[in-house]
């Protein structure tokens, strides 16, 4: 199992969540975050904005679904055309276990 954490534009969140659901990845946790990337934030004149709001979507999936889920996120989180800076990042980490509180069952 893996934990996929995708940091995406907040305005892409809704379409991304519905596309993920349509592809069978329904369960998700969404956190509002602020951050900056390699481009050192956005410079407008003398003002630097380096706390840019993004949405972090967290999903636990079987390792086999990695390629599929990543391709969906890349397809729908990208800005129109070739994409642009600020479209986000996807982080994948290993997941040792998952427990459901209501049943106590392990696994996804």
């Amino acid at each position: 199992m893996i934990m996929v954490r995708a940091i995406v534009r907040p305005e892409k969140k809704d379409v991304l969540l519905s596309e993920l659901s349509a592809a069978g990845f329904h369960a998700a946790t969404v956190v509002d975050v602020v951050g900056r990337g390699k481009q050192m934030g956005i410079k407008v004149g003398d003002v630097v904005y380096d706390e840019i709001p993004k949405s972090m979507i967290m999903m636990a999936t079987p390792a086999a679904s990695k390629e599929k889920i990543v391709s969906i996120i890349i397809k729908y989180a990208k800005s129109s055309g070739e994409g642009s800076f600020g479209d986000g990042k996807i982080f994948i980490s290993p997941l040792d276990g998952v427990y459901t509180v209501s049943t106590g069952a392990t696994g996804l």
Partner: protein
């Protein structure tokens, strides 16, 4: 070292905090999150809930029904609290048991999930200690 990420109901936060202190885990980070779980396939599970919601409303039934369907069809995100707890390997089972015991309700769905992730290293900022000593 393990990172325990628990997504739980908002109204169970203080009970969870208390229970965590009782098992000897005082440190954690909590964040407000929005989330959704697996789609509810067996509608009989939420039938009771649906009845309660319908009884609560004074509006005409068709309108309420539509709203409740939107509410339960799974596309909506619900507010939850996310706890992030760092723990030693041998404590993990005990912490999971505690969180499950405190947060279980009769609603059958929506009680939350617990994720266990491996952590490579931890550093205490104050002293510079690393590894298990820092947790």
């Amino acid at each position: 070292m393990k990172e325990i990420i628990a997504v739980i109901r908002m109204n169970k936060v203080s009970a969870t905090k208390k229970a965590l202190v009782e098992v000897g885990v005082a440190g954690f980070t909590a964040t407000k999150v929005m989330g959704r779980g697996r789609l509810v396939e067996d509608l009989s599970i939420i039938a009771e809930r649906r009845k309660t919601l319908l009884a609560l409303s004074k509006e005409d039934e068709a309108k309420t029904e539509k709203m409740i369907v939107q509410f339960l069809d799974g596309t909506r995100l619900f507010p939850r609290r996310m706890f992030t707890i760092l723990a030693h390997d041998e404590e993990v089972a005990k912490i999971i048991e505690t969180i499950i015991a405190v947060n279980r309700t009769d609603n059958k769905v929506g009680d939350g999930k617990i994720f266990i992730l491996p952590i490579l290293d931890a550093i205490r900022v104050r002293t510079g200690e690393t590894g298990d000593a820092a947790v």
